[in-house]
């Protein structure tokens, strides 16, 4: 490979290869939104190129343009010097551009091997050579460090495992340019490390990787250069070594950002509002007990698959619980379905806002009043004006940014969608607020707004449960952190004893004693 293009940024090496991908002046406009505004950047072969920016900065749109989902309205792209203008995802694939999306696109009823080689199953005598496919699949799975049989049905895998299969699929296709869109969102620390190894392998083989992540530390660990987008514009491309993470955040948000969390330290938790005793959760080894006081923010930490979401769903009645008692404000409540929980004053902001929280095609007003329609009903009739006005008031309290209260929430950014979910429960005046991954997929600015809202809710005396995989967030925001590990609660740590390492080792504790998948009875690690 010879040096062709001008070396704009040093990068340290003597010979800077010409770009594999060059994007120039790409503009993409959606109704009411300019998603990309004259974006240009270059990706070199054998480079891991980070793409960062807040939600709404245009990363996802750029990925869709690269992957042939959207055509740009203006601008050009070249791949290895040749014009690159994919009309659809198939053309992008054929050109060697592979996207691993945030939203996974696997076929749950086919086997892992079939999913891996979906585009080109090996054939012998005109029929699929499953033996060959399974052999190849085993190799690929080993490369991504996934220990499952290639004959397993996709649907049986966890989200994290599915993510790894997606990455293996990209390996199988021998992509020239691999785009990883939030690849670690569902991965454990161990799986993330494995992913980094794969990315470095790919780099050494000359594959270019575009790496998108909200986790800035990952960018410093694995990327060579970073391109920052802000409001659909290209802010800059820099070698990662030239920046600190504070620099990066500043570039992303366009202003200095205080990293502290608005912990409501002035609030002394009051009487117990939510008491959970001996809750039996399917798939967990032990029953769960905990309580939350008025004005208290209780964090729930743990690795993916530790049983945190399952516990909250059982508590809320979304899934059936096996025994146990729940007390709200001193009154014992029987929760068989979400309706019982809501009536008792418990609310639940699910981790999957789009599928289990919002009604995307409907307006903010409809979404906000959904849990308390009675407030805007008279004699069975909806008072639409009152509904719009009250929803708009609640939305502005939650700092929802939307063109209009009736705008379909599907068109809002992730942060605004989450605020709509919170507005719904506040409109319902829920005493207990359970939030599952409240800031997942939400950009830095909106994230801090949500923290501020949570702190405010605590000051109002509500009991808050915050499930999160983001330990710094829990450490910053909570009075207390419960740690789940492999289907049991292994710790209840007060704020005074918060320590990143200790919490993390607690979260891993269930996975350390013996590598066997089945639980070992009586093994308490603390």
């Amino acid at each position: 490979m010879t040096a062709e293009g001008p070396a704009r940024t040093g990068g340290g090496s003597a010979v800077v290869p010409g770009p594999l991908l060059a994007v120039e002046g790409v503009t993409k406009v959606f109704p009411g939104v300019t998603a990309l505004d004259g974006v240009g950047f270059e990706v070199r072969p054998g480079e891991v190129h980070a793409l960062v920016g807040e939600n709404g900065a245009g990363k996802s749109t750029l990925v869709r343009v690269l992957g042939g989902v959207h055509g740009p309205d203006l601008g050009t792209m070249t791949l290895d010097g040749a014009p690159y203008a994919p009309q659809d995802p198939a053309e992008a694939l054929a050109a060697g551009v592979r996207i691993v999306h945030q939203e996974l696109s696997v076929l749950p009823n086919l086997t892992v091997a079939e999913n891996l080689f979906l585009e080109r199953l090996p054939r012998r005598f005109g029929v699929v050579d499953f033996r060959q496919a399974n052999r190849d699949a085993t190799d690929l799975l080993a490369r991504v460090g996934l220990d499952v049989s290639p004959r397993t049905r996709m649907g049986e895998l966890s989200v994290a495992q599915t993510q790894l299969v997606e990455i293996a699929r990209a390996l199988a296709a021998r992509a020239r340019l691999l785009v990883l869109d939030e690849p670690t969102a569902t991965l454990t620390a161990h799986e993330t490390r494995r992913l980094f190894e794969i990315v470095r392998d790919l780099r050494s083989m000359g594959t270019a990787v575009v790496y998108i992540s909200h986790h800035l530390d990952e960018i410093f660990q694995v990327c060579d250069r970073v391109t920052v987008l802000r409001n659909g514009r290209h802010v800059g491309t820099h070698p990662v070594g030239d920046l600190t993470s504070a620099d990066l955040v500043r570039l992303m948000v366009g202003r200095e950002f205080a990293d502290d969390h608005p912990f409501p330290g002035d609030v002394t938790p009051g009487e117990v509002v939510l008491a959970v005793d001996g809750l039996g959760v399917r798939g967990l080894d032990a029953t769960v007990s905990f309580d939350v006081r008025a004005g208290e923010i209780v964090g729930v930490a743990g690795l993916v698959g530790a049983g945190r979401t399952e516990t909250m769903r059982a508590l809320f009645g979304a899934d059936r619980a096996d025994g146990g008692t729940v007390t709200v404000g001193g009154r014992r409540v029987t929760i068989r379905r979400p309706r019982d929980a809501v009536r008792a004053g418990i609310s639940f902001a699910t981790e999957d806002r789009k599928a289990q929280g919002l009604i995307l095609p409907m307006g903010g007003d409809v979404n906000i009043t959904l849990a308390a329609l009675r407030k805007v009903t008279r004699g069975g009739l909806l008072r639409r004006d009152a509904e719009r006005a009250q929803a708009a008031a609640m939305a502005s309290r939650m700092r929802v940014k939307a063109p209009d209260i009736t705008t379909a929430v599907g068109t809002l950014s992730g942060g605004n969608q989450q605020k709509v979910v919170l507005a719904r429960w506040l409109y319902r005046d829920a005493r207990v607020l359970i939030m599952d991954e409240p800031t997942r997929g939400i950009d830095v600015g909106a994230r801090h707004e949500i923290y501020a809202i949570v702190a405010e809710l605590a000051r109002q005396g509500r009991a808050i449960v915050m499930v999160s995989s983001d330990l710094p967030e829990l450490i910053g925001m909570c009075h207390r952190i419960l740690v789940f590990s492999r289907g049991r609660v292994v710790g209840d740590v007060p704020r005074a004893e918060f320590d990143h390492e200790r919490l993390l080792s607690l979260a891993y504790s269930g996975f350390l004693n013996g590598a066997r998948p089945e639980p070992e009875g009586g093994d308490r690690v603390d």
């Binding site: 503009t27 406009v29 959606f30 109704p31 009411g32 939104v33 300019t34 998603a35 990309l36 505004d37 004259g38 709404g56 900065a57 245009g58 990363k59 996802s60 749109t61 869709r64 959207h70 309205d73 203006l74 659909g232 809320f316 979304a318 379905r337 979400p338 309706r339 929980a341 809501v342 009536r343 639940f348 699910t350 599928a355 289990q356 929280g357 919002l358 009604i359 995307l360 095609p361 409907m362 409809v366 959904l370 849990a371 329609l373 009903t377 069975g380 009739l381 909806l382 639409r384 379909a408 599907g410 068109t411 809002l412 950014s413 719904r424 319902r428």
Partner: protein, 336 residues
């Protein structure tokens, strides 16, 4: 071309597209069709023919109105034609019983509506309890109701209804067929229910995302069952109207009515995926189908060709629905 221009153009095309793909578009299509037939079909624009069309579309409008509720919650009801037959047979038996005339008529109306309601209840409860697609359950109900209708009289027809009852079928009110007015009343009331009540709101919400509604603290199944009940009960209403028109009830009536009704719903812009649509659209859809059939008939187009045209219109409606879906998903993607 600046970004702003691109943005402005995109917004305006979207608005126009949405407008054309929505109810306004159906209305315009209906208008164009009427203009076409006024010019091309002899005797189309007479008051007699207008009343004819109104009478002809009455049954389809009522059945389609019921099915709209079901399709809004992403279900389907294939049983309405057969349920109509069963309701008619039971109502026929009641009305020809020894009861005094007035009472017999009232009892027959109740019997028809309750029979339809019961069929809808079974459809809804079975598909919700065991999570069976309503396509299957209502296909089963279609056969059950048809069999039951045949069983009631061992396939014989029932006739000899009271004079006044029969007269209602041809009665007019200010020149408009009274049965058509009933259909319009159903559309108006149904429209108010869908747009102004909590019940209507819940149907739309459930049709778009049932799990979100459940997790917001609602019992979604009840609402869905109710939608099936409405569809069944309206099949009962349609049965009575059928009887006043034909002065007889036979177990083989209503065959294929479900398909015309579903066609009207789809043409009217209600999405088969649930959560989007309106009864006004359904009404316009039924009108469009009725005008089309009537006009082609007057133009001397044969029965077979007419069937082909109607089929093509239904497919066209689904193609339009495809673009509508694409439009809304494009709007949803607008947030990057």
């Amino acid at each position: 071309m600046s970004t702003e221009t691109v943005a402005r153009e995109r917004v305006s095309t979207t608005r126009i597209t949405r407008w054309i793909l929505g109810e306004t578009g159906i209305g315009l299509a209906l208008l164009a069709l009427i203009v076409f037939f006024v010019i091309a079909a002899p005797n189309f624009a007479t008051s007699t023919n207008l009343a004819n069309i109104q009478t002809q579309i009455t049954l389809n409008t009522i059945l389609a109105a019921g099915i709209t509720f079901v399709i809004l919650v992403a279900g389907i009801d294939l049983s309405v034609g057969a349920v109509l037959a069963l309701c008619a047979m039971i109502a026929g038996l009641v009305i020809t019983s020894d009861l005094p005339t007035g009472l017999a008529v009232v009892a027959a109306v109740f019997a028809a509506v309750l029979t339809g309601l019961a069929c809808g209840l079974v459809n809804g409860v079975v598909s919700e309890t065991w999570a069976i697609p309503s396509f299957i359950v209502t296909l089963g109900m279609m056969n059950i109701a048809r069999g039951a209708a045949l069983q009631t009289t061992d396939a014989a027809a029932v006739f000899g209804f009271p004079e006044g009852f029969n007269r209602f079928g041809t009665a007019t009110f200010v020149g408009i067929p009274s049965v058509f007015l009933i259909a319009v009343a159903i559309i108006v009331i149904g429209h108010l229910v869908l747009t102004r009540t909590v019940f209507g709101r819940m149907l739309f919400a459930i049709g778009n995302n049932e799990e979100s509604v459940r997790l917001a603290g609602h019992r979604t199944k009840g609402y869905k069952v109710a939608a099936f009940c409405i569809s069944g009960a309206l099949a009962g209403v349609a049965a009575i109207i059928y009887m006043t028109r034909l002065h007889t009830a036979t177990p083989i009536i209503g065959n294929g009515y479900e398909l015309s009704a579903i066609a009207a719903v789809i043409i009217g812009g209600t999405s088969l995926f649930g959560g989007k649509g309106s009864l006004v659209g359904t009404f316009l859809g039924a009108c469009l189908l009725g005008v089309l059939t009537n006009g082609l008939l007057l133009m001397g187009v044969g029965d077979f060709a007419r069937q082909m045209v109607t089929g093509a219109v239904i497919i066209l409606a689904v193609i339009i629905d495809y673009y509508r879906q694409r439009l809304s998903s494009r709007l949803a993607l607008a947030s990057p």
